[in-house]
Amino acid sequence: MEPKVIMDTMWVLITAMLVFFMNLGFAAVESGFARAKNCVNIMSKNFIVFAVSSLGFLTVGWGVMFGDGTGLIGLKGLFFAGGADNSPAMGEAYKGVYSAISWTGVPFWAKFFFQLVFCGTAATIVSGAVCERIKYVSFIVFSFIMTMLIYPVVGHWVWGGGWLSKLGMFDFAGSTVVHSVGGWAALAGVVMLGPRIGKFDNGNIKAIPGHNLSLATLGTFVLWFGWFGFNPGSTMAADPVAIGHIAVTTNTAAAAAIMSATLVSYLLIGKPDLGMTLNGCLAGLVAITAPCAFVSVGASLLIGLIAGVLVVLAVMMFDRLRLDDPVGALSVHLVNGIFGTICVGLFAQDKLTGTATGNGLFYGGGFKLLGYQLTAVVSVGLFVFVISIVAWAVIKGVIGLRVSREEELRGLDIGEHGNEAYSGFQVFTTE
């Protein structure tokens, strides 16, 4: 096979592996920010969720997302990724039912694997926001819905040849498709579940410190690392100039967000809170995900700085709104997923690394692109939030969403799994 296919396949698979590795990062961040008594449960959720994604996306999700169909949903080759396909043939040469992704010249299963790890990321985002009170089985059921229906449908709109892509909306690596989708579904879950016992006792907000900030820090490093697969990999081709550029915009946004989040938390809280620094890093990464290939390194710096401020304010805002998100998933993925999507409309430079996005507002492109981006933000938000509320409601009705008060007090590790995370350690749980 000619070199290009080989090189592109290597690039796609290696970056996909890095994105897969982000599952470890999410597991570590989310359990680290939660209490020791719920650690086994969070680890279990974050571990099994990728298994669920793998099966859900294989059996139906892929078909819904990439199958040729209407502007709203894929219809052909729906099940078991089993439609006709002659990858790595590209463009004209491609004969098959997954034409929306025939722009990349890698073998079929390489495409599938790369798309799968993105689907898994969207699903795992939900886990953190609903943790410390949700039933294990209820989360598993929702994850199946997420990976077989919710994510693939939005994915079809933006990356599967659906109406948003036709419209001219751009989301390079998934600020909307992955992070906002995960964020909206998480928000619906938080609303349906209500806060953890003691979080908002008699009117005032109580701090419920995470049990292991080492774990949370390592997890954030892993996510940062994995993002070098997430963004540069989304070229799905080893285009030297593009991947180099994206690696730097991605890293610069993260760095800037770390600094601004740390500074802002220092100013607002009085001390540089590690949790905020970590969330800041993730906020910058989420925000640069959509525009990473379309904006200059300078713009990525600016985007990062803003993202870092946004996330700190958002964390405090959600507390004020009495929305209990133990790990800051909403502030990171929802708020900055939206912000990042909008940034494309503001900072994009036409053909910067090849893609003809047209210019964003600040580069003389006017409101055209920005309008498309906002359309996506609103429509995706509406769709995902509504369908998720419905899904959570149905689950609540059939098997229930929340563990008993007694179980929540003792911890979900014993209640849901009969395990203890740190057997032998003296853990003092007074809430």
Binding site: G198, R410, G418, Q426, F428, T429
Partner: protein, 113 residues
């Protein structure tokens, strides 16, 4: 003087502290402990092997007070810790012949507070 030892449910610690403050009892020492009493334990398992856990997490309070504070202290603890359910805990009262404040080497009643 008396030394009051109380075992309470961990999640009741804050309530008990509040009611003790209300009763103007400001000094205390807190230790985590495992308790076995009427309250039934729970079942754990690990890699397929089950185990009965009957030592439950409790918080142990130690409060030294002068005689005239004994009853209000007890009342305050009960007020904060009582739910009426098994597992609420126990209070033990011991005689305390002597008490010394290390900082000042004061002894007896005035060293307690």
């Amino acid at each position: 003087m008396k030394l009051i030892i109380a075992y309470i449910q961990p999640y009741k610690l804050n309530d008990v502290k509040q009611s003790l403050y209300k009763a103007e009892v400001f000094k205390m020492s807190v230790t985590n402990s495992l308790g076995c009493g009427q309250q039934k334990g729970y079942h754990e398992s690990y890699r397929g092997v089950g185990m009965e856990v009957n030592l439950l997490k409790k918080v142990r309070l130690e409060i030294a007070v002068n005689e005239d504070f004994v009853e209000r202290t007890i009342k305050a603890i009960i007020e904060g810790a009582k739910t009426g359910q098994i597992g609420d805990g126990k209070i033990f009262v011991l005689d305390l012949p002597e008490c010394i404040r290390i900082r000042t080497e004061e002894r007896g009643g005035q060293a307690i507070g």
